[in-house]
């Protein structure tokens, strides 16, 4: 063993190194490490929170979608009902219109038939007179025999 002044020199060097390390090396490095650890912890917590929020939002969206679907189904149901109703109403209206048109047609036909009958009667009267004239070969005074003619017309 050869202990000498080297020991003192090394001791001084050791003390100086430790003091330098204590003052200028350790605090900034450990500070940076701890700050980064805090940042990372914060980030992880934030991401956890975000994930939870996302889950919540998804649940909410799903619920809203379900609700919307139900509403849509309701609306379609109502529309179908209304459609049936409208069709029925239209059918009833159409039936009534048809009946009305038929009735008026019938009436018209009746009137025209009556008119034609009347005309026919008149013409038959004329023909009968003409025929009688031919038979008698003489003119018959229409006025004098109008009562006979009228009777004939009425019989037709």
């Amino acid at each position: 063993m050869n202990l000498n002044m080297t020991l003192v020199g090394e001791l001084i060097a050791f003390i100086v190194f430790v003091i330098f390390c204590m003052k200028f090396v350790w605090p900034p490095i450990i500070g940076a490490i701890e700050a980064r650890q805090a940042t990372i912890a914060d980030g992880l917590a934030a991401s956890d929170r975000a994930a939870k929020e996302l889950e919540l939002a998804q649940e909410k969206a799903t619920a809203q979608l379900r609700e919307a679907k139900a509403q849509a189904a309701d609306i379609i149901e109502a529309a179908k009902k209304r459609e049936t109703q409208l069709v029925e109403e239209a059918a009833v209206k159409a039936q009534a219109e048809k009946d009305k048109i038929l009735a008026s047609g019938h009436a018209e036909i009746e009137t025209e038939r009556n008119q034609a009958k009347e005309e026919l009667r008149q013409q038959v009267a004329v023909l009968a007179v003409a025929g009688a004239e031919k038979i008698l070969e003489r003119s018959i005074d229409a006025a004098a025999h109008s009562d006979i003619l009228d009777k004939l017309v009425a019989e037709l």
Binding site: M5, F17, G31, A32
Partner: protein
Amino acid sequence: MASGAEITSQEYIKHHLQNLTVGEGFWAVHIDTLGWSIFLGLVFLYIFRSVAKKANSGVPGKLQCAVEMVVEFVDDSVKSTFHGKNPVIAPLALTIFVWVLLMNAMDWVPVDLIPRIFELFGVHYMKAVPTTDPNMTFALALGVFVLIIYYSIKVKGVGGFIKELTTQPFGHWSLYPVNFILEMVTLLARPLSLALRLFGNLYAGELIFLLIATIGLFQLPVHFLWAAFHLLVIPLQAFIFMMLTILYLSLAHEDH
């Protein structure tokens, strides 16, 4: 290898274990030990300081990552052993760990490389591994020892410290002198074991490297094996020195 045939292996080893010394007797100074240790200490402080200056909590660079790994490793070691609040212990542990590691790592440099380079400049003795010099290891241990005493007295007071040294393990007053002798041995054994353990391991390692260097052609694979084995020894000794320092200082802080 030995430079000339006239040098026996015994002389070769003896030569390599000689420090570059200035002065005589107690006033002698080992220039090589002092120079290499201070150089390595400055390397340590330069690297760590350059990181510390740029340190921020953002995305770290590669060097910053490496340095932070070491710092965090030391910090974890300190926190797992020492539970009080002390701004000295963690930087002290970091300095000891990295400095001792760097000095031990000089053991990996081929035993003849550095002495040969210095031989070219006319320097005939060069022992490049500072921790193979007991002056180095005792200086570290002495520094730790002073801190042990300082914190023992600071935390427990002079009376408390003396009480701790005298009143245990035996409670009776008549046995206090015996207690004192036992406790003194314990107290003094701490720095002594710290210093001798580191010195012994590294000195032995260096000696074996020197022995291997004398066996001729087959030294290369053997050198490789021994260096590979030192992958364990070198960090382990640095770690043990740091860990025991933390342990002793935390014991000094414990108030019974």
